[in-house]
Amino acid sequence: MKTSQSDSLGRQVRVAWVIAVKDVRTYYTRPASIMFGVLFPFSLFLSFSIGRNIPAAAQIPILLAQTLFFASSSIGPVTIPTERGTRTFDRFLTAPVSLLTVLMGKTLAGLIFGVGISIIPIVVGVIFFASHITNVAALIVCMALSALGFSAMGIMFASMPGQGPGEVMMPLNFVRIPLLFISGVYVPVGELPSWGQALSLLSPLTHTIELARYALGGEAFFGPAANIIILGAYTAAFLFVGIRFHIMTQRKD
């Protein structure tokens, strides 16, 4: 009896989806994960917005971007080191799928979680602060692409050789926290000096905030096309580096 279906792109997509569903079920639906995904970006947002003379509706894109950023990139980094510890990650390495498929599955789980959680700030904005979604397509692209990119970033850090579940958060936060300061969260990109604008161009979070502003009636300093291209390029780069990290681990193990 031949039980395996054709070795095709479709098969790799199916398996990536299976891994994503398993991860969502196993890791992302834990109460602690959901509470972290909701509370951390809101707390961060309130600590920055309370007392500042900025209209609440104008702050919703920032809340949305921060939620996408932290929700998508926080749980994934725990999964791979945990699975390495229990040796269940070996199941992926010995399964007839590529490393890209495995990492795409893990990234998809982060995407599902990030998009799911980031619906909350949109609902809050629309209902309580009279935010208007002026470009639905841009909002969908913003949420999907940003969640994918930030999830891939978390998975890349999780793939670093020799990292335990606790250890991986330090280098990740070493990158994530500074990104808040150069991405137009506290000071809009247009008001930054030219070197600051150049720096913010390099941050993926800048492009999420820009796309969110664009979707909610604001302006994107670098333009939505540039935002989409740069977020897409970062996603590919994070996955590529993540795969290289796994290959390094396989050479050392």
Partner: protein
């Protein structure tokens, strides 16, 4: 695939810095064969399995599963295999059923086969009634059985088993051994690592012994035993042995080594008849009374000890009493290193 080996390993090497964990090993496993892979702790068994199954990338050399190179044709090669690693890497937070279904989906087994196969395997291993329970609450033996069922979900051609019965209760050991035999009779090639010499001797068609990352011998259990002629022995017990019996027995002609276990002395030799004669003279000249006398063929454990210098039961290492080249001259130890 006619004529293709189930597993073919050439010049396989793994280095960790300056340490050579696996040193240019080569061997073949035939289709439908149970191939034992024995060695002391740290000899390179698990590192070899990790390279053969794609978990680890070799430093040098190649390995092919059913003709597919594990590095260059990894997806095809991995389709052919099932793996039971040395620890039961099951998903504790999933039920027994979900563990199997997830594995089936990971191997892209179509739904209709996935569910019937999961049911068949859980029944085969006596776990069907507990299929809905989370694996977290299962005993070690039950988790081991789940791990084996997961390895069988994709109906592979080659099954890797790394210490499948280690530390399990008797019931689980018997179920697992019986299943391995049945699967093998259905044509599955099995690559089995074990510390249990009796298990290897009873189950394996051929055995490779690895030590310090190198293949020390490959042959059938019976031929391996015959190869080590110098580990034939005469076992004697005296009614009231003198205090210096061990020392005096070592002086007897043709005796290479004497060990004492309980009240029995075991005299190793390649000429049992000569040792029997000299033992009888020793008994007479010292006015002793014999309780038992047995001549013993070398066990697989004896061969293992000779080749590795390690007694598996105690883990005490001693120098090999006979080097590999000497054993090769005596018999026909197989395997290759570079």
């Amino acid at each position: 695939m006619v004529g293709v080996y189930a597993i073919k390993v050439s010049n396989l090497t793994k280095r960790f810095g300056h340490l050579v964990a696996v040193d240019h090993i080569g061997f073949e496993v035939n289709k439908g064969e149970i191939f034992g892979f024995l060695g002391p702790n740290g000899a390179g068994k698990t590192t070899t399995i990790r390279m053969l199954t794609g978990m680890s990338i070799p430093t040098e050399g190649t390995a092919a599963i059913m003709g597919f190179d594990i590095q260059r044709q990894s997806v095809k090669a991995k389709e052919q295999m099932g793996i039971v690693p040395d620890i039961s890497n099951v998903y504790n937070e999933l039920s027994a059923w979900d563990n199997l279904i997830f594995t089936g989906r990971l191997y892209d087994v179509p739904k209709i086969y996935r569910e019937s196969r999961a049911e068949e395997l859980l029944k085969m291993f006596g776990l069907y009634d507990r299929r809905g329970e989370k694996v977290r609450g299962f005993s070690r033996g039950m988790k081991r059985r789940i791990c084996i069922t997961m390895a069988l979900m994709n109906r592979s051609s080659v099954l890797f088993l790394d210490e499948p019965t280690s530390g399990l209760d008797v019931q689980s050991v018997l179920v697992i051994r019986d299943t391995i035999r049945r699967l093998n009779q259905q044509g599955l090639a099995i690559f089995l690592t074990t510390h249990n010499m009796e298990e290897a001797s009873q189950m394996c068609d051929r055995i490779a012994i690895i030590n310090h990352g190198r293949i020390a011998a490959i042959d059938t259990p019976e031929k391996l035993r015959r190869t080590a002629r110098s580990v034939q022995s005469v076992e004697v017990a005296f009614e009231a042995p003198p205090e210096d019996a061990l020392k005096e027995l070592r002086k007897l002609p043709s005796v290479s080594e004497v060990t004492k276990t309980g009240d029995k002395f075991r005299l190793y030799t390649d000429e049992p008849s000569s040792v029997l004669e000299s033992t009888w003279k020793y008994v007479q000249s010292n006015g002793l009374k014999l309780v038992t006398v047995n001549t013993l063929s070398p066990s697989l454990e004896d061969v293992f000890i000779r080749l590795t210098g390690i007694r598996p039961a105690t883990g005490n290492e001693k120098q090999p009493t006979q080097n590999l080249d000497e054993l090769r001259r005596q018999g026909s130890l197989g395997g290759s290193n570079r």
